[in-house]
Symmetry: C2
Subunit: 138 residues, 2 copies
């Protein structure tokens, strides 16, 4: 499979692109010569991971006929202080809301994503430590 | 250094977040149960890389007093066909537009980004092959 992206400089520190028809802008903060027209690019690695595994989990739970009232994915990351400043760890918190949710099935869905389906996790695991926990709010 | 992200499920396959005050949504295509409210999350890894190295290069060129008329970063990627579907290669094309641009200085700026400053590249290099080329359009 192949994929591609075309990102254009828009002056200052701003870069824009269209991914699957959706316009996205990244930019730096004012103190680094930017105009804050969009997020800093590095943080998109966390959104890529949360979105990828979140979609897997929701898709697997649907097949298990489990329909949580709410579902959030939080990530707490650690980065190096020295250049190149990079993530050394991402810890995911899968937070489900709902009554009588089957904890074992929730765990199973997450394991399937982390071990079999999530391509972002598969990549990032080679570059940093990826850990996770489950929280259930009744 | 620490960083974090909070991503909320919005029904279907849609997840939204706010990064540095900017709202972002990822979603799946209709054929995978989504509503295409945003891009697929995996492709954000390419934007993270293009934005990170693009900002480095523009910032270094500014210090070198080089001001290109235009600058684009294209990435062509390859992915596995099997689950977990992941990038195996990203090839960057740094495309500069302008007259009498100093090719050696452009190369130097890219090398500094790839070897020293870009934290996204530093991470992704551990997970896949990262290559690049320069194109100059007069």
């Amino acid at each position: 499979m192949k994929d591609s992206i075309h990102v254009g400089w828009e002056g200052g520190m701003s870069f824009s692109t269209s991914i699957h028809g959706h316009k996205l802008v990244v930019d730096a903060k004012e103190e680094f010569g930017g105009n804050d027209k969009g997020p800093r690019p590095k943080a998109l690695m966390m959104l890529a991971l949360a979105g990828c595994t979140g979609m897997d989990v929701i898709s697997i739970l649907k097949k298990m006929r489990i329909d949580p009232e709410g579902f959030n994915v939080h990530i707490d990351s650690e980065l190096t202080d020295e250049h190149p400043k990079q993530y050394t760890k991402m810890h995911l918190i899968y937070e489900f809301k709902g009554k009588n949710l089957d904890t074992e099935k929730l765990k199973k869905a997450i394991e399937l994503s982390q071990d079999k389906y999530c391509g972002v996790s598969a990549s990032l695991k080679k570059a940093m430590e990826i850990t996770y926990e489950i929280k259930i709010i009744e």
